[in-house]
């Protein structure tokens, strides 16, 4: 089957079986390998992409179900929240192996866009679906809170 994907702000045609998960379409048909395979059952969050702004596990999403929804992947997310998060990730030296971090960033980005000033509880529950085996959780927390603070600061508001 051929599908027109609204992906990263452009239209892309791909050919794949209807039930093939978006994850493998992104990685192997389109070469967008920043989105990772970690479990294939929607448990680890490494494959998180945004679907009309909602963080979504691409390993469970058949390509046929994407339809006209806007897909954004780690390669192309832009804007002040994305910039603030990437900068905070570097400042806090968050990644170790780094494999889960695309998914962590995509989940954190969705959080800050919806909840610019999250409480620790909101942060914990929002990011609970993203597993990190290197144990960078405490740094992710600090980096997200830091990014939120930077975004709230008067100098960042313009």
């Amino acid at each position: 089957m051929k599908y027109q994907l609204n992906l990263n702000g452009a239209t892309h045609e791909v050919e794949a079986p209807a039930e093939q998960p978006l994850l493998w379409v992104l990685r192997e048909c389109l070469g967008l390998v920043g989105t990772k395979y970690g479990c294939g059952i929607g448990q680890c969050g490494a494959c998180t992409v945004h679907l009309d702004g909602t963080p979504t596990r691409s390993c469970l999403l058949p390509v046929a179900a994407v339809g006209s929804q806007q897909v954004w992947t780690i390669e192309s997310v832009t804007g002040r929240e994305a910039d603030a998060l990437r900068a905070a990730w570097v400042r806090h030296n968050v990644p170790q192996c780094g494999y889960c971090q695309s998914g962590q960033l995509m989940s954190a980005l969705a959080l800050l866009r919806k909840t610019p000033n999250p409480t620790p509880t909101e942060l914990n529950s929002h990011l609970d679906g993203n597993i990190c085996r290197c144990g960078t959780y405490t740094r992710i927390r600090a980096a997200v809170m830091d990014a939120a603070a930077v975004l709230q600061a008067p100098s960042a508001s313009g």
Partner: protein, 708 residues
Amino acid sequence: MLTRRAFLQAAGSLIIPIALPALAVPNAPAPVLNPNSFLEISADGAVTVIVGQAEMGQGVFTALAAVLTEELDAPWASVQVRSSHPEAQFGNPFFNGLQITAASTSVVVFFEPYRKAGAQAREMLVRAAAEKWGLKPALLKTHQGQVLAPDGRTLAYRELLGDAARYTPPEHPKLKKIADFALIGTSPLRLDVIAKSSGKQRYGIDVQETEGLVAVVAHAPSFGALLISFDAAQAQAVPGCHTVVQIPSGVAVLATHTWAALQARKALSVVWDERPGAELSTEKILDNYRALALTPGSTAKAGLSPVPTSAEPKGQLSAEYIAPYLAHLPMEPLNCVIQRQAQRVVLTVGTQFQSQDQQVVANILGVARTAVEVRVTAMGGGFGRRANPKSDWIAEAAEILKALPALTAPVKLLWTREDEIAAGYYRPMVLSRIWAKTGADNQLTTWHQRIVGQSACDDSALDFLVQKGIDLTTVDGVTTLKYAIPDFSVDVHQTRLPIPVQWMRSVGHSHNVFFVESFIDELAHAAATEPLAYRRALLTDPRLAAVLELAAEKAGWGTPLPAGMARGLSAHEYYGSYVAIVAEVEKTGATVKIRRLVCAADCGLVVNPDGAAAQIQGALVYGLSSALYGGITLERGRALQTNFDTYPVLRMANCPSIESFFVNSSLAPTGLGECGVPSVAPAICNALFALTGQRIRRLPLAQQGISI
């Protein structure tokens, strides 16, 4: 970014090639100064540090690059790292020269060689400048990639490379004084942090070669199962399926892309004889281990009195502890790419064990070791799994090539998460019984410990770690116990089972410290002595005593906590690194929460303080995850767990606050990647006992009816 046109052009092909091997330096200019195996300086002054140890997230590239750069005196921004091919110079002396990243030895064994490598180049550059200026080398200084003359003249390293390259590298270059370190002891920007904070880091799983195939293997559904027959017709009918072929470990399915390979494997029909594993179950194995624990084993450490042979001899305290089989679960599932080329085989893999992987592939394919080129990629975690005693998944890839002698396409072998959990290798399940006697004033006089479990090193390239029938990785952390006990003995039963096992982050200590530090806590309570004071009186090692005091002080040991909370502690030594952990545990209703972990460590000189803190934080999370949730349960030869839904791991919401403190030391650096793991389980179990009176002697907590 690819353009839209490129996307559309590519849509017709099956896999978009991702050519970049993760750690290669594309189009690097030819090196101009290359005085040793560890360093190249190119004409533009770029410094490439070559590292043979595996970067799996622990920061070894950044740490060893900083060690070399410290002595070279070059700007950090000019430094990059390249992964080495297997070569003798990168052999790990701790493991008989095998090129392996294990037991937290990277900085321990390569600290001096990388210092020397940097100092060698610096001395050659200084000599070149001295000759140019007609000055004595001793009059010259260096700073950040420049040689400085007393009169203010300067020459950049890049202007001196050609001249410097003419000299023989000095055998004994002068090293800096520790007090003069400017980079070691600081936390320079991690070399991979930007790529890893933007989705740009490439891992082995991201390597997609033109015309490449993806392979998955239908493994035996239970341990020991034998393949009777298979029917590939349905699999072959899946669009994209390329080949189905039997190999020793099962039936390999090759397809043009991953999803097709997975679908074809699902469609494959295989008949197995599962009788060999039918009797294998965790509880049956433990029944056997329990019986063995009451018979004398091979002596690992001899004591004064006869070893006990009954569960609870009169006048002795005794307890039985169990640590389960564990799965490593690095976030990046196991994979590798293998290709037969003219005169050679190219293996692209994220591995901790280059030299053996190379040898295993060579053996299987019947080629010389040097005909196997090993390209090491970045790794999405390792935790020991990528240093397999048999190079298991890599051997499987080689077997696929062997079974298809005409195949020249690159093959990417992928193990799904389910494949990893079903097939092992696991951290061994270990049962241990400890007996203790006390004398006057509750003085501990006798400790006998028996350990029952499989050897990880038997029949492998690491069998030199098995001595007199005892695998050092089974007894580590017990035989080296740092308590003063006049009559101390350890014996061991190494069992043999068809369940593949290997080391996990912190190796034998990962179970043994749980046994030992829990039992010490039991003894303290039996003696009605406060656990910190009890350890204080017994500890023989001042460095271990110091971290215990530091952790206790930072955690506020002995100060009141709110109702429903308690603290527990544990301390241990791991190959020259000393760690103490204080855990704060809370119980609300039936639910137990770990609220805070405070860790003090002495690992000698700290090369990179922020990296060191990251390793302790990560190790504590890893240890906590195993203690709370980790456990493979076998029934009829199969693991009941299959993926993260049934094998839970620690997630954000249950991650406690973590604090780490380091003893200020100028002693030689020791390992940091693993030493934080072992004391987590006993610290939280000891806290739980202090809170509830319930003694946990079997892990994980979640399988002991404790709600987390």
